[in-house]
Amino acid sequence: MSERFVPVTWNNNKLIYDAVLLAGVFLYIWVFINFAPDFQTVTRAVSGTIYKARAFGTCAFLMLTLILCLGPLAKFDSRFLPLMYNRRHFGVLTCAVALVHAMYVISIYFSFNPLYDKYVAVLGTNTNYGQLLGFPFESMGVLALLILVIMAVTSHDFWMRFLTPPLWKALHMLVYVAYAAVIVHVGLGALQSETGPVLPMIVAASLAAVAGLHLAAALVDRRQMRQVAGVAEEGWLHAGSVNDIPDNRGLVVELGDGQRAAIFRYGDKLSALANACAHQNGPLGEGRIIGGSVTCPWHGFQYNPADGRAPAPFTEKVSTFRIRLEGETILIDPNPLAPGTFVEPVVIGEPA
């Protein structure tokens, strides 16, 4: 959480996470370089250096696939939440692996042009953008790499604070564009010289998993939002019933204009906060109240339910909302209060 920024806030969980990640990457590269040549199915034999480029390329592709699957998986099954915890290190490592792939490719294919700089050769050797066969697929790889670099260099919490969460999130949602660019890069690049079924099947499986999980997550999210009814009276919206919220849990409600609130029940009290965590926009309403604080399911950032402020010495705060009860029905004022504004909790059973 906040206080003075440090390069990386290490703890045992992060060390284990990173150690497993690094071991996985090294193991994959080693197995690929040593065993893949025995299963060569390309139309023309390739050299050992090209295998290294492909080892890092396929590794980055699989890592990107896993990263994109983690969000929806954690939504469906809380056992995946620990993998979300340090996803930014996963992303930075993916960027590093993709950079090594790019360096190998440039050294193999573009470093021997007697007339032009190797980077000019990457962008200018093939400019047939108007045709599919022979499309300059390298440019799609460059685009994806550029996005991964932007995400990696802005992965620290400082950037979220400095750029503001909406802008930071918009930048990091470019990962979907990066994934689309990688699919085109692989489809019009490596797949064109591959005659065996393995690589096409891996790419198709990745696409099915990533697109399927994200569509399913969007569908579930939409269904969950249907419980929110319309306008109750001037300035207030129906948000559901008290009985819809288990103790120490939240109910997420759509307020229109893309804004959501999470109404928490703790004992006989109710409070409402913005659903987006101030850290990385994690879904607060899918978290729990632990030790009296709303706890984000992604990274454990905590907030006091009554004022949306992180416990001292931390300084994060989220918007709060006014709510009231009519019988068992919760009404909410859709206009958020300034982050950190105290709102007296509503007591269940007490007359309004």
Binding site: V120, G187, H214
Partner: protein, 126 residues
């Protein structure tokens, strides 16, 4: 090739300006605009790549923070954008991949190999 040369030259200029902006931001700006960054000198080094890559954005945000413009209080989630993006990608990406596979099965790589022979040398009559 001229476009590629201009692009690479432009990127080099962008990089050098970014390096200058990062020096200025770290010396003058960072501890003025983000309280938690004050005195974290080792951490500042980590910011250099980000400032180089996003220096126009950094200058805009720095200016806004200097004049005291606070970000909006509304914290919108990104779920609706997320749903639209994935409906679009779930259609476009399989089409792109299928198109690539069709190209592959009909492409020049699949054409049967042909033995290329040099034309017979003409033998001149003595």
């Amino acid at each position: 090739m001229e476009t590629a040369v201009a692009l690479v030259e432009g990127l080099k200029i962008y990089f050098w300006i970014g390096l200058g902006v990062s020096a200025l931001f770290l010396v003058v700006g960072v501890d003025r605009v983000v309280e938690s960054a004050r005195g974290s000198y080792i951490f500042w080094v980590l910011l250099i790549p980000g400032v180089i890559v996003l220096w126009p954005l950094v200058l805009i945000r720095w200016a806004l923070l200097e004049i005291g413009r606070e970000p909006a209080t509304r914290q919108r989630t990104h779920r609706s954008t997320h749903a639209c993006v994935w409906i679009l990608l779930a259609v476009l990406l399989p089409v792109a991949l299928a198109g690539a596979m069709v190209l592959r099965t009909q492409g020049p790589m699949e054409a049967p190999a042909q033995l290329i022979q040099a034309p017979a040398a003409e033998v001149s009559e003595p």
